[in-house]
Amino acid sequence: MKSQSRSTLIRSLSLHAVLIPLALVWLFPLWMMFVFATMPDYGIFSPQIELLPSTHFIENVSNLQADTDFIRALIISIGVAITYTVLSVLLTSMAGWALARYSFVGKSLVIAIILGTITLPYFVVVIPQFIMVAREFKMANTWIALIVPPLFNSLGVLFMRQAFSMMPVELFDAARVEGVKEWQIFLRIALPLARPTMAALAIILFLASWNNYLWPLLINSRPGMMTAPVALGTLIGLTKVSWGGIMAGAVLLTAPILVIFILLQRHFIAGIAAGAVK
């Protein structure tokens, strides 16, 4: 018995001896992001090793604002991410409900095509999307261009479909006997029951929209209509730019999402893990 608890202790110690350094290495870039964001440019480009935060964050934010209208870009990003999340959760839930609870002609074909798009490279669709939105509809640099084309997602529908199919049939049949309309069954009974799944989906979609770079870069590259990642991206690679400012921007982009992550970790992990359960 004693030797067993001793071997447990050794196992526990070696476990932590591996994990602690690995975790520190993993946290290091995040830590440095916050450190850089608080340092003046001469501190970032000094020959000393600087590992602790300084006090120049506000100054860096105003340097950033001088380089590009980052506050406006943040407001656009927030607006786009919220609108996108609400619309996408609604569309995806409706489609997931239809695919889970009704039998209709073409259902298996629809599911097969949606599944097929999971492994399809995004680059196959982004070129025609760009031509359509920018050239045919002449809608580059608008809110609609940022929000609507990315609305389709395949994993979300399968995620919602799974949640709806696990609910007991009797619940909905009882309502039908009472003469409740189909859309009311969806809105009043099914949706409230699917709330945890919707929360997980909403977090993943919000994150995807908030961090989206390629599509906003292509379609909304006019100053004043850029999202925050695009605005920040234009500064990277310029020569006369405040790097403290860029890092302050990186923190403004990252900090809110980290707070959401810490508060809603369970939903967040459920959303990502759902990618694996088919």
Binding site: P29, I44, M94, L99, V110, T119, F123, E182, M247, A276
Partner: protein, 286 residues
């Protein structure tokens, strides 16, 4: 019954409309464009203009080669690391589990632009913290941005940092779905922990690990933001230009949509090949 099922179309309609307009039509459209010369107005059917050019374009082979090198090194390293992280995080002996989970999962929520900026500063030749730390243990500074191999290594490090946690989450969920009594029986039979891992855990995890491998290959194949922002548009001199960046240049800098579509369909062909390979490898998994 029939009337009720008709309601399904109503629920599906908005989603399918978006799907048709922004996915189905583009899939067809870019396929057709890949056979058209889009550098003249109006566009004309001319299969050789893009496909003929693609297979003789040294820039394409350079991008393909770089993408393959990243795939072949980055995906196995990251999946191995993610499996190790998941197994360690799943250990009942672990203290402060929440802290470790935060450390490994947090990069998943960090935007590509934000982390690209940090990595650029950290790996700066003269002032970057990485070279300073290397110097302090007696290793000479590495020119992460002007040496092509070092720049490739930098991309691999960056992508691994960003995505390992994502795969860890998925593999950890798989680990937690393995019933505990399997291990109890093995422990009673005095099977060592290592052998339990090799003969019980890995075979049961195989479908999930394969899923992660396929998603990672398809993700890394489309690598764009990192070579664009970290190594400064595929620098040095195309040394880190990936297929994604090559496509971006052709499609959106040179506005040659036909040629870009041919590149996109080359990626799609690779993705299909990899998915088929996955089906073949995982054929006895179920």
């Amino acid at each position: 019954m029939q009337l009720r099922n008709r309601a399904a179309y109503g629920f599906l309609a908005p989603y399918l409309l978006i799907f048709a307009a922004f996915w189905i039509w583009p899939i067809i459209s870019s396929f057709m464009m890949s056979f058209q010369n889009t550098r003249i107005n109006p566009w004309v059917f001319s299969p050789g203009a893009n496909w003929g050019r693609l297979f003789t374009d040294p820039a394409f082979y350079n991008a393909l080669k770089n993408t393959m090198i990243i795939l072949v090194i980055q995906v196995p390293v990251m999946i191995t690391l993610a499996t190790v992280m998941a197994v360690l995080l799943n250990s009942p002996l672990l203290k402060a589990r929440g802290l470790f989970r935060f450390a490994f999962f947090a990069p998943v929520v960090v935007g590509e632009v934000a982390y690209a900026a940090v990595f650029r500063l950290m790996f700066n030749l003269d002032f970057g913290i990485i070279n300073k730390l290397l110097n302090s243990v007696g290793i000479a500074s590495i020119s992460w941005f002007s040496d092509a191999s070092a720049a490739m290594a930098l991309l691999i490090i960056a992508v691994t940092w960003r995505w390992a946690g994502y795969n860890t989450i998925i593999i950890l969920a798989g680990l937690q779905s393995i019933p505990g009594d399997v291990y109890e029986a093995a422990t009673l039979d005095r099977v060592s922990k290592l052998r339990q891992f090799i003969y019980i855990t890995l075979p049961l995890l195989k479908p999930i690990i394969l899923f992660c491998v396929v998603l990672s290959i398809i993700g890394s194949m489309q690598l764009f933001t990192e070579p664009m922002l970290i190594t400064n548009r595929g620098g040095p001199g195309g040394g880190t230009e990936t297929l994604g960046l090559f496509l971006y240049r052709q499609g959106f800098t040179s506005l040659n949509f036909g040629y870009a579509s041919a590149i996109a369909y080359t990626m799609a062909a690779l993705a299909i090949l990899i998915s088929l390979l996955n089906l073949w490898v995982g054929r006895d998994a179920k």
